[in-house]
């Protein structure tokens, strides 16, 4: 976000986009339409629209702090007495629980979950397209209409026609390249580290009874780390975090002050690529020697290398191919490229990103 200044698509537009792709799938793929009852179609569309509603501010950064998976909160918001819940109830009293069952993958018709969360679904299609568009990188230029045209349903699961294997390869490779060049861009990683450590520092100070000057009313409930209501959860959005960062920049604690100013003014830490943990430790020692607390001023990560995974026979998260002879095979069984990628030990080749003072 901070490295690619135009990559500012919000969760709101991503939700609309996921909804629109789900709608387009139902509209154009007859086998999908026929495999879903009318109620299931509406359930799918609502799940598409709401699938990310439980994302906290600075998504994954926040999950590190508050140990609750965002899908749990999505369900909580759908099921608890929220405005979302009230709207869904107007359809039928048990409609919220049906939508939630798509999110947590317990809906009896597995096709719904496959269309929202598998290795190729409305969610992933939308964000690949969206990120490619907004960052201006060419990796995500997939032919989405054709990708959907090759979709079908067979044996009550989503499959893709053999004729479209190239499109699937292109989709998986597009995600791979986006991960390498955008999501794991050292500066993106660094920004995430700063916001994570800033909030961590705040809670540490809070736990020790530190006297803050500012009023952090929406953030305080998270400090106690007990149960958070859906309302408390949605109230704390990214705007609030930005606002609180401004207040934090006026507090006296030097770490809180420094990290919040870095956060507000995009003053990143240094980043370097190293080959292994040993080399990474050199920088950790450096941070300590310079008198900084490595909990806040050092971080190393090895980019996650799983491009595509064969989860084993009949797993719903696999990308399955409908062969011309009517049989179903998993993608890596029929795509030479995917097979090569699954077998190759990619992780040994890549660099470790080190963030340090």
């Amino acid at each position: 976000l901070q490295v690619f200044p135009t990559a500012e698509h919000s969760r709101f537009s991503h939700s609309l986009g996921t909804y629109e792709i789900a709608r387009y799938i139902i509209e154009t793929v007859d086998t999908v339409k026929n495999a879903l009852s009318e109620e299931e179609q509406v359930t799918l569309l609502c799940a598409a629209l709401l699938h990310d509603v439980g994302h906290g501010p600075f998504s994954h950064a926040f999950e590190l702090i508050h140990p609750i998976h965002h899908e749990e909160y999505t369900c909580k918001i759908i099921l608890e007495d929220s405005e979302v819940n009230q709207v869904l109830k107007q359809i039928s009293p048990d409609f919220p629980s049906k939508v939630a069952s798509v999110i947590n993958k317990t809906h009896p018709n597995g096709i719904l979950s496959q269309l929202i969360s598998s290795q190729i679904d409305a969610d992933r299609i939308d964000y690949l397209l969206r990120d490619a568009f907004f960052t201006g990188t060419p990796y995500g230029y997939i032919d989405v209409k054709r990708l959907i045209r090759i979709m079908s349903v067979k044996d009550n699961q989503i499959v893709f026609k053999e004729s479209g294997i190239a499109n699937l390869e292109n989709f998986v490779m597009g995600r791979y390249h986006m991960y390498r060049t955008v999501y794991y861009h050292p500066a993106s990683t660094c920004y995430e580290v700063i916001v994570t450590n800033l909030i961590n520092r705040f809670f540490e100070l809070l736990a020790t009874g530190y006297k803050f000057k500012g009023d952090y009313c929406l953030l305080l409930p998270f400090g106690s780390r007990k149960s958070i209501s859906a309302a408390e959860y949605t109230d704390l959005d990214e705007y609030s975090i930005y606002y609180y960062a401004r207040l934090m920049s006026r507090e006296d604690d030097p770490i809180l002050k420094d990290l919040s100013i870095r956060f507000l003014n995009r003053k990143l830490l240094k980043t370097v690529l190293v080959k292994n943990a040993l080399e990474a430790n050199y920088y950790k020692d450096l941070v300590i020697k310079e008198g900084y607390n490595p909990s806040y001023y050092f971080y190393s990560v090895k980019p996650n290398q799983i491009i595509y995974k064969n989860y084993g026979m009949n797993d719903k998260a696999n990308i399955n191919i409908l062969m011309r002879d009517g049989s179903i095979k998993e993608l890596s069984e029929v795509s030479a490229i995917m097979a090569a990628l699954i077998n190759a030990d990619l992780s040994s080749r890549d660099d470790t990103i080190v963030i340090y003072i």
Copy 2:
């Protein structure tokens, strides 16, 4: 912004874009490069980067509330003891004042102001392109490289070569269409009305000594309406307004509460297009009859129709054409389309947008 959910380009990326276009002009148009000293080139680039730094949150909405033009604040931030000022001073002690003189159009070399604020400049080119891209409308697809290639300098002013008149027409028409379809979209107007009235309501309550529950520390200085420092001004960003809107939704005043909830949840007022002020009044009466305060729940506006203006001989804001015979003419003198548009009484044909409860 709220109608076109992807149109979320920030001032930050627009500033980078304006800088980049100014840089590209210097790089590719030799006559411009030669008409600027090296220091003037740097001055231009800094002015491009900083030209919008004085925009308050929700830009034009905020100007209605706090009676200071954003260009004044841009200069104030550049000249006062801000971080921006300190960086600029490193070039030379009077460099900040040189950059500011481009913004307020007093720089001795008029070309600098022409490239940042005239009827066709780096600022307007960037935001037309940017808005077209992010809203997905095709109106702004101008050939920006060619638009810049036809630029030149003659008699110490920016001119455009006769061969590129079609490009200029296309640029002006692109802006016209963006105004009609995006900027004056009834829902955009409505959103602006809500935020304006929300902040107005806050200050009215403040003036009457209303006891707020929340802490609005960054907004309070604006309530006194006396001089605001550059630091106070930049601290109050859009994140703060969003945060305060959430606090306002918990206050007791029903108007403040209602408008803030509308603001946070995009619950717009009704909009209708009418032909004249008489018809608009019908809706105002309706609002009053229903028991609402028209100061907060009624608004009417007739879209501003000036597409392109000939400011008279030798005005720097004109688009001037370098004819094949070496003479200079104003665009509407040589473009049949621009001439027709200037002469036509456009305003009589358009609708009035009415916003009401």
Copy 3:
């Protein structure tokens, strides 16, 4: 074509494109679908596919030589004993004549002709989009989906909803800019002049009994200028003209030889823009003085300036607007820009293109 080397879309892809747009209109605009019987829908699609089948090689250039309008030949090919005719007859014996009646605008349901040949139709939409794409100019970037979404049928004619006036303005302006910058590009004009004069020269020599070395079997029937069969007409395609030009470059006649070499090797004549006929004559005299035949080495043209025309009340070729109150108005009555353009005397302002040795 020769100036914009990528602008090589053939009539074949344009025909598919026109068909696709007609199909999309039927699919998405319910009022159009309902206004056409099933047979009329198929008739429309066939007419869209075949509307240009009677275009001779180098389209308009060839019409100057062989005095038959291409629409006549389109009908002839559809109605005579061609392969096209045989395929159409399989639907019903009178189906070819129904398709032809759309082309020559005598079909009882006027909507069919409006969708294929009016001031905004599937034909014009496709070629604006296609030319914009292949020439890389931005002028034709219209939002075609929205253009079609605002279409409707009222009083048995095609109308456009008031809310889409900006799209219509954009479409008309797009065509205007394409005309100015691409179709009337001096080099395009020059190339058309060369091919026209080359073929003219061939027929003049043929009329005087000149002995050619090459075998021009497919071109000879056109020399007699009597009736040409549909088969003879379609046999003479652009490939044949290119081939014959190569043969002509080996003939002894110096004019035929020179023009054919220019044609094959893109060696254009000189072009200049002048203000009026008097200035044009200066170049004609120059050509004569240099010993060249002005019939072959001089040409002047004033670009045709009609952007949009109001053909008067209820004319099918008008662009008609369905107002919010249900009434129908012609576009220039409600669009300030179109009104201005219709009234402005554009022709007085433009240049004359002169082609000379």
Copy 4:
């Protein structure tokens, strides 16, 4: 070409494109510029413009018939007494031979050949981009500016910076996908088979003394299969082949007549994908049983699977990476994906395309 009706880019625009990319490389990559003398820069640009000038009509199809590699003819045209040769000679008497030495890879400065013919060069970059644009497939959307920005020269060879490995992977994968989905599209293959067999049939008939009705003057010299002059070679373009196909459709030989009508009217043969040669033979037998000559009515091909090749140490055709530590490595040594692809036995997985009556 016949399957993707818009993919009609000519060799002319491809030549301009290759030239432009070569020019852009020189302009933006300082190390390349510095590694080339001024004369070498001009030599490179001319070689880029002319690299395909020796392509016969229907390129690769024609090479099958006339056993001369197109690069030989490119050199012949550059070196023999052609118009091209005369223009090049104006620079210096030995300039044509310098340009030719880039084409046949004997130029002393190997960088020139690397930029025109290696596994990543101006030629391949242009046609990937061009084909992607004109066929509308998304596979070729590579970030060409960045691809060139990561170029450099080290140890007198073209290298690419380690930071741009993702771009290189994207480029190679783009080519791979274009091969699979466009170049080896069964219908493209079928069209190529038809034109090859049509011309083969013509020469067979010619060899047996068959009396043709039409005049095939430009094609006859190729029948004798002795040396063809550069002029004879360039005279026979695709237009002539189309024209001759029309004449052939009027000859009496049933095979010549049938294939030419198929060629002119895009009436393809049937295509089927089979798993191996055995299955392919089933179709060959079918063709014979139906009384057709399999030399003209049967064809089978296994798509060529080499995506990227490591030609061994220091080969100029390798894609070489400049590592951050200054060393040079071949792409598959540092890219996990390329390594996997080189090692994987791709060929075992793909289908054989069979064309039959």
